[in-house]
Symmetry: C3
Subunit: 355 residues, 3 copies
């Protein structure tokens, strides 16, 4: 595994800035890549993102309020529109062009608010990943949450792309036996947008979460796909059936199926916002089914948060020290290489631009 | 507005070290310009200020106790007089001349304890500002307080010399309409000791605090003087009367009048002690009148504290980034220039001394 | 007193890592000399110390669990033996030699768990100090404790080797009159392993702790020995009898006698683990006697903790500023010199090794 455990930021990319319901009548403060940002909705309901620092005295705009023209600073009343232009200064007519704050492109789609932290000229909405399940509440009821985690964002990607941790860290919830996980059939496939990890396990005892969900009584077969979409998302697909049944037959009423989204948006080099959602494909007409699954996953992800924060504390003491790779790291190594390539490309572009 | 938002310290000047009642039988710890200081009263009741660090092992003298000869360290019993000389070392007769701590000139006057943090040879008591109202309890009953604020001390000066914030930050208390404030008649006048800002507003609705104070029923005229006295005080004079009456007639029993003192004593580059007092010139025989006014102002100044601390946090991320001046900043700019001149003079003197 | 108040670490030496009862079925986390360490007992009950950082992803081993072969990481299940070798990686057969963590020599003896933080080749068990009283519960019943103190570890050595602080800092407990302490007969003797300070006081009023312990009614004679054993222990021997009796006659049933151990194990340059035990040599068949003495001493040592942490805060502001020595510092100066010599020797050895 590369020593570059504290991964730098890829700027020309989309990151989850917020869940849509987080942005309402009050300004929302969120730091992304060390930049304090204010998120709000304009009069038309469209989400907007500005740097959270009035150009006049540096006061945070999140201490202000949302008004018809945009957002008003709570200190001396300056108003900015969604593009960051100052459109009102109390007590004066003329507004200098320098009176503005940085704005960031924002796209709201499929129940995500995406933000672009890089060169505005390079913005490409087609590059936003597709996750249609949020918009299919009848077929895939879901719930979502956000945790702030005090670790470098790539530690979450490492976590998700090396599932041998399930048997140890999550033994009491979604994990099941450590041995089963470490002997799973595993394939790692490079994709244009990242890396796909597929695992299959056959004839294993069902973990407690699965039993609660669909009442397995005997051994199960299990299939998981974890797709790393660079720089900071993992799309998770899981299926489990009574041993011998067809893992890919999504019409089997006794099967366990879910779709999870994981997004890690860097706050600083050593912290990130972890956006995750959990959709289920069974008992879709029982609201408590998705709640039950959400609670299980929630507890599990708090275990991840605890270990990652402890890991970050150790890494930070000796950030350049090499780590030792194990067999289970294949997908992690591929994902890290993919990101490295993107970072190198971005660096090359920036070098040319700087000449 | 200058980019020098985090103002350096002017050392050859008087600062408020404490309110007199803060210094009693127990040593008082206070850090001024990064220097931990112990304040106490000697046997004659005179306030004294020493560095808060015993010369023997570095223990803070504030962990000790006030004794007849001065202050005694609580660790091994060394005693210092008000000049910082060690006058007793338990178990030995001879005391070396090096056994001493720094002392700071202190003057107690008009209910202030002033301290001089610069060259002791340059101490000039005549340079202490005059604020006679503290000593006139019948004519100007007052109350005083101190807040620690996590911001550079000059942000308080900026705050007070740009009153366009009243209509936004303090809309619910002393502020009133933002529009009225930003269209006030304003004059800015340079003084030998600083800058005088005068504002008049006519025919405006009375803000809630004023109505509570003297029961205005209709529109009022309002006059304010804010005098910046370098480096870190603002003397405030305010008057309000029914529209058409004489703003300067202090005998009008229906008028609203006050005198406020604001002093910002640097603790560090990014924090200060905010000493303020509020005196009223109406209902002077009703003790609850000054209490009511104090409570209103107290709530208002906590609003200032919150915005300044938020502002400091943003400025600290990019301290050298230019801020954008607006029309309402005239007095702020003049005050900052005045301080800059004093800092340059002090720097020049120090350069000559160093040659 | 030397300006080197923040003492560096002597690595080739034994330090107390833990009390034996702290290391049980769960891994114990303890940072020593900035190195996070996990302490545990192997299947044979022997204490072991490894760096608290899995070589795979850097997760702390203290989040894992003790297993038959050693300790298992709680993230992906790697197992290490007491020598730090990785002996199991789930899902793979071959284990590379680089899969290991640092281990530290540990010796458990006389109710101490000692650790060696230096060159393993230089380990010398004969150099461990002798403190037989812990193993003599009938003759010397004792109790022990540990405080974390936010100060450089040598401040505790200074504290113990300059007892003139007893009359000031501990006036209400074990101290007694400040004058008596500062006029005590004092001898300072260099030893191969450190410095021995001896003090005798005659005809002094008994301090409250002593009266509680053995019921003194009149004046007492008192003798103390404080032996600094480099780098970071002090062995304390104290005796008090009715004035005129023999201080060294340990069979006198009316005498007050104790043996204290003090060990300061550096956590960082500005914090240490303070291990201390208190044994009494009177009323040895009354369990409450040792409890009473322990409580008195506990309160006293919290006074030391408070002043040392305050002292550290001041020293840290100006670490290179000279301190002023007083007569009572003789033993402190000798102890500091002894440590300086050892540090110089260690530095010389390291320089040769580096050539």
């Amino acid at each position: 595994m590369s020593a570059e455990t504290i991964a730098p930021f890829l700027r020309n990319a989309w990151y989850v800035a917020a869940w849509p319901e987080e942005i309402g009548g009050e300004p929302l403060a969120r730091t992304i890549m060390n930049q304090p940002i204010v998120l709000f909705r304009d009069a038309g309901g469209r989400a907007a993102a500005l740097e959270d620092r009035c150009c006049h005295r540096g006061a945070p705009l999140t201490h202000g309020s949302v008004v018809a023209e945009g957002i008003q600073c709570g200190y001396h009343g300056l108003v900015y529109d969604r593009a960051g232009r100052c459109v009102r200064i109390p007590g004066q007519e003329r507004i200098a062009g320098e009176a503005r704050v940085r704005s960031y492109p924002v796209v709201e789609r499929q129940q995500f608010v995406w933000i672009w932290m890089g060169d505005p000229a390079a913005t490409d909405e087609d590059a936003i990943l597709d996750f249609p399940y949020h918009d299919q509440p009848d077929r895939w009821p879901h719930r979502r949450a956000m945790f702030r985690i005090a670790a470098n964002y790539m530690m979450m990607m490492d976590n998700l792309m090396d599932l041998s941790h399930l048997g140890y860290l999550h033994a009491r919830t979604i994990g099941g036996s450590g041995l089963a996980h470490s002997t799973a059939e595993m394939t790692v496939e490079r994709r244009p947008t990242g890396v796909l990890l597929t695992r299959e396990m056959h004839g294993m005892p069902p973990p407690p979460t699965f039993v609660k969900a669909v009442g397995f009584e005997g051994p199960i077969d299990r299939r998981q796909e974890f797709e790393y979409v660079a720089p900071s998302a993992v799309l998770q697909w899981a299926s489990a059936v009574d041993t011998g049944k067809d893992l890919k037959d999504e019409s089997d009423p006794g099967g366990f199926r879910n779709r999870l989204f994981h997004g890690a948006t860097p706050e600083t080099e050593s912290s990130f916002h972890y956006f995750w959602s959990a959709a289920i494909g069974y008992r879709t007409d029982e609201p408590q089914a998705v709640d039950e699954f959400f609670q299980e996953v929630h507890a599990t992800f708090l275990e991840d948060k605890a270990i990652m924060e402890a890991q970050q504390a150790r890494i930070a003491l000796e950030p350049d020290r090499e780590l030792v790779a194990i067999r289970a790291d294949n997908a992690v190594v591929a994902a890290r290489r993919h990101l490295r390539r993107l970072l190198d490309e971005e660096g090359a572009v920036q070098s040319i631009a700087a000449e």
